[in-house]
């Protein structure tokens, strides 16, 4: 297999660690080339594969369990009232 160009290498030539690559992928801040590269990398790197699955599961759980609640109605009414008082009559 010919040496693939690593799309994660930064301008200063510094090669990022597995963990740094994984974070960019997990947080969906990667380019398409980076995703391709990381997919191939995971086939060869068991720790990355396991950690990616674990981190992605935690991220999903956080999203589904820790947000989506509604603000209390009296808070919304309170804000509207106080803003009305600030407006010129």
């Amino acid at each position: 297999m010919s040496e693939q160009i690593n799309p994660f290498v930064q301008e200063d030539g510094k090669k990022p660690s597995c963990m740094q690559m994984l974070q960019i992928i997990l947080d969906e801040q990667s380019t398409e080339a980076q995703q391709e590269y990381f997919k191939a990398h995971m086939d060869r790197c068991m720790p990355c594969f396991k950690t990616y699955n674990l981190d992605a599961t935690i991220k999903e759980l956080l999203k589904s369990r820790c947000c989506g609640g509604e603000a209390p109605q009296d808070l919304i009414e309170g804000i509207k009232q106080r803003i009305d008082q600030q407006r010129p009559q």
């Binding site: 963990m19 974070q23 674990l54 599961t57 209390p72 919304i76």
Partner: protein, 194 residues
């Protein structure tokens, strides 16, 4: 966040911006405030204060830019100024260390956490939420902004007034700490993690 030129809005435009762009974000704002203060009443006060400030400074907001990031930044600053002072939580975190570690060579060594996907899937109660709440507030904040609210690193850097590199290293450390907490819970649930 870089200073934007002051806008001039008519009263009607102000109302439109406030009602159409700011108010619909009240649920996300309340969730953020609650996760920061961990108290329902404090969260309500914090959100209300934030909206008052947003209305007062509305001419610093440019329509078409990211209202959510703008409001979250005001909320975060209000929290630091008004609430954090009151809290007894001392800042014990050595951020320099967090950053140095993130950029060091041996960062990969800790990549395998002793936590398994199967045990996470069985956490159907408040474990995830409690684990998040147990983190020191600066670590909690980056997870809220990234994982709950989906902000990009660049937006987080602006909301928190820190460099992107610091966002990344802090986020990495926060996730490690969260996993440690979740491993604890998994052990309590009787899972052997290894």
């Amino acid at each position: 966040m870089e200073e934007t030129p002051r806008q001039t809005y008519t009263e009607q435009q102000k109302n439109e911006v406030f009602n159409n762009e700011f108010l619909p974000l009240v649920h996300a704002m309340y969730n953020f405030a609650y996760r920061l203060t961990l108290d329902r009443d404090d969260a309500k006060d914090l959100v209300q204060d934030t909206y008052m400030k947003a209305f007062r400074f509305i001419e610093s907001f440019q329509t078409g830019t990211n209202a959510k990031a703008w409001l979250f930044r005001i909320l975060k600053n209000s929290f630091i100024n008004d609430y954090r002072k009151k809290s007894k939580e001392p800042n014990k975190v050595d951020y320099q260390e967090v950053e140095t570690y993130y950029n060091s060579e041996d960062v990969n060594r800790q990549i395998t956490a002793d936590l398994r996907v199967e045990s996470l899937k069985d956490m159907i109660g408040d474990e995830i939420s409690n684990a998040l709440n147990s983190l020191e507030v600066d670590f909690r904040t980056v997870i809220i902004l990234c994982d709950l609210e989906g902000f990009k690193y660049e937006e987080m850097a602006k909301i928190l007034d820190i460099p992107i590199g610091t966002v990344r290293s802090r986020l990495h450390r926060a996730r490690q700490l969260l996993k440690e907490k979740l491993s604890e819970y998994a052990r309590e649930m009787g899972y052997k993690n290894t």
